[in-house]
Structure formats: structure tokens, C-alpha cells
């Protein structure tokens, strides 16, 4: 009886250690923000970024590739909410059309199913006219959609 009682007490003592699931290890991820302005030049853009699924915290934002190599405008206070508005413009001339890496987002992620939602709020060409564009995020580099 005493041995059984000790066995139960022993299991109670070590059980939480044996059966506890380890918290997923947080990791840092770099996400490229990509915009394809098609045949129009891209001079200004504004997006809303949020993450869906899993846990992620935006920890930093920096620029993309020329002409948007400088950090975009953003509100650091919005990091906590997981939704942040990014925007930038370039006053350079002869801006190119096509695919642009406009920003780079650094996030601390936990779990396996982190996805990022990007909503294009505005995109404009060199004349300041609104243009149709597509926006997406990539964990690699920005490649035109459909290309390997």
C-alpha cells in the first residue's frame, strides 16, 4: 500500500515534467513586401499589413530595393496590434514599372502557420495618378508571380 502511494506521489511529482509540451521556439523571420505595378511606374504606395494564424510580432521595418531602399513611413505604436500601415514615395525620375521590393518586415514568430495579409491602400505612378497594382509578401525575394 505504501509502495503504491509512493508510486502515485512520484508520478504526480514528475508527471508535469515528463508530459509537458515544450512551447514552440520563437524565431525571427524576414518578410519582403512586394508590389507589381504592371506597366506603370511606381512612385508611391501605401499598404496595410497584418498577420493571420499563429503568433507573430512585428519587431522592425526597413526599406526594400531602390527606389524604395529607405525605410517606409510607419507607426511603431501599431506593432503591438499586429496591424501596421506602411507607405512610401520616391521623387526620383524615370521610375520603373513592374515588380518592386518596397519594404522588409522583421517579425518574431511562434508556431508554424504564420501568414501575412497585405492590403493595397494606394499606389501611384510618377504623375501621381492612381494605378492598379498587386501586393504580396514573400519569405524569399520578390519575383514576378508565376515565375519559378
Amino acid at each position: 500500500m505504501i509502495r503504491q502511494l509512493m508510486l502515485v506521489l512520484g508520478l504526480m511529482a514528475v508527471g508535469p515534467v515528463l508530459f509537458a509540451q515544450e512551447d514552440p521556439e520563437p524565431r525571427f523571420a524576414t518578410i519582403a513586401v512586394c508590389i507589381d505595378s504592371g506597366s506603370e511606374s511606381l512612385a508611391a504606395w501605401q499598404i496595410e499589413l497584418s498577420h493571420v494564424g499563429g503568433e507573430a510580432e512585428i519587431v522592425g521595418i526597413e526599406g526594400g530595393v531602390e527606389p524604395f531602399e529607405g525605410p517606409p513611413y510607419y507607426d511603431e505604436a501599431a506593432f503591438r496590434s499586429g496591424r501596421v500601415v506602411l507607405a512610401a514615395f520616391s521623387t526620383e525620375r524615370n521610375l520603373r514599372p513592374g515588380v518592386h521590393r518596397v519594404a522588409t518586415v522583421h517579425a518574431m514568430e511562434t508556431g508554424n502557420t504564420i501568414e501575412y495579409s497585405l492590403i493595397l491602400k494606394a499606389a501611384g505612378n510618377e504623375t501621381g495618378s492612381r494605378v492598379v497594382a498587386r501586393v504580396w509578401s514573400s519569405r524569399d525575394d520578390c519575383k514576378p508571380r508565376g515565375m519559378p
Binding site: A43, A44, W45, Q46, E48, Y73, Y74, D75, A77, A78, S81, R83, V84, V85, L86, A87, A88, F89, T91, K121, A122, G124, G128, R130
Partner: protein
């Protein structure tokens, strides 16, 4: 401006200019006076630093009402000679209270909202204030195009690239839902 010609505006008037509430001649003085322009820039930077560094604080309505009541009382019972002085003190107290209020994101309207009476932010006239408006302003500055006095977003008496930056910052900050 309350000062006689040739004098600099007071700190209070510089602060009112920053918030777009000063008389037009204060703005034009700041525009042409390097000393006041530097002071206005300092006030703007101080305000920005307070907003970024300070924790969110909401002034209780009862405190705000008490300050206003005391200010009105002080302004009404003093002889005229001292009234102006007390009005300045009361205004300074109000200014402090307003600074406190503006430190709270929940009470602090975004720039286009706050400056609606003083600034025009829909530069391209499409009914939306977004990054295309900031771009439009930046391009006018770069190309030397015509500018409007209401585009002095940072209230420093000059319309320059910093106004385009301020407008862009207000745009990415403009959604209170996102700030929560």
C-alpha cells in the same frame, strides 16, 4: 499677434502657431524670422518627442473642467492691467492640459482631423487623404511648383519636404483602430 511690431511672438503664440491656431501674422513672422523659426522647430520637436516617449495618459474630465473653470474665473475677476497676465497664465495651464490630453492616443485626433480647419491634406482632390497626397506635395516642392499656405503641415512657417514627411506620417498613423 499681441506684441507690437518688431517684437517676437511669445512662446504661447509660437505654440499656437504649431497647432494652427495663431493669427496669420504670427505665421508670417515665423516664416521670416530665423530666431522664431528655430523656436517653432524646437517646440514641434518637443511635442513630437513628448508624444512618442510619454505613456498614454488620459486627463480626467473633472480635472480638465476644473482648469477651464479656474481660467475663466481668473480672467473675469482681475483688473484689466493684470487680466492679460492672468490670461496668459491660464492659457499656459490650458496648454499644459492640452499637451497632456494630446499625449493620449485615444483622445488625440490624427493630423488631418486635428488640422482640418487649418490644413488642406487632400491635395489631389480625390476625396481621400493618402500617400498620393504626400507624394503630390513632395513633387511640388521638388519641382518648384505652386504651393498653398494651408500645406504647412508642421506649422513652421515654411512649406518644404518636412511637410510632406509630416503628412505621410499622419497618414500611416491615421487609423485609431490600428493603434490599439
Amino acid at each position: 499677434m499681441t506684441e507690437s511690431p518688431g517684437q517676437h511672438p511669445s512662446d504661447l503664440e509660437l505654440e499656437l502657431a504649431r497647432t494652427g491656431e495663431a493669427d496669420a501674422d504670427v505665421g508670417s513672422h515665423i516664416g521670416g524670422c530665423p530666431v522664431c523659426s528655430a523656436s517653432a522647430t524646437m517646440l514641434r520637436e518637443l511635442s513630437e518627442a513628448l508624444r512618442q516617449e510619454s505613456p498614454s495618459v488620459r486627463i480626467p474630465d473633472v480635472v480638465e473642467a476644473r482648469i477651464l473653470r479656474q481660467a475663466r474665473r481668473a480672467a473675469s475677476r482681475r483688473p484689466r492691467a493684470r487680466r492679460l497676465r492672468w490670461a496668459a497664465v491660464a492659457a499656459a495651464a490650458l496648454l499644459l492640459a492640452l499637451t497632456w490630453i494630446l499625449r493620449s492616443p485615444l483622445r488625440s485626433p490624427s493630423l488631418p482631423e486635428r488640422a482640418g480647419h487649418a490644413h488642406s491634406t487632400d491635395l489631389n482632390g480625390d476625396g481621400v487623404t493618402d500617400i498620393l497626397d504626400a507624394y503630390s506635395l513632395a513633387m511640388r516642392i521638388v519641382t518648384g511648383g505652386t504651393v498653398d499656405a494651408t500645406w504647412d503641415i508642421d506649422n513652421n512657417g515654411q512649406i518644404d519636404r518636412r511637410d510632406a514627411d509630416s503628412l505621410a506620417m499622419s497618414i500611416v498613423r491615421s487609423d485609431p483602430e490600428i493603434r490599439r
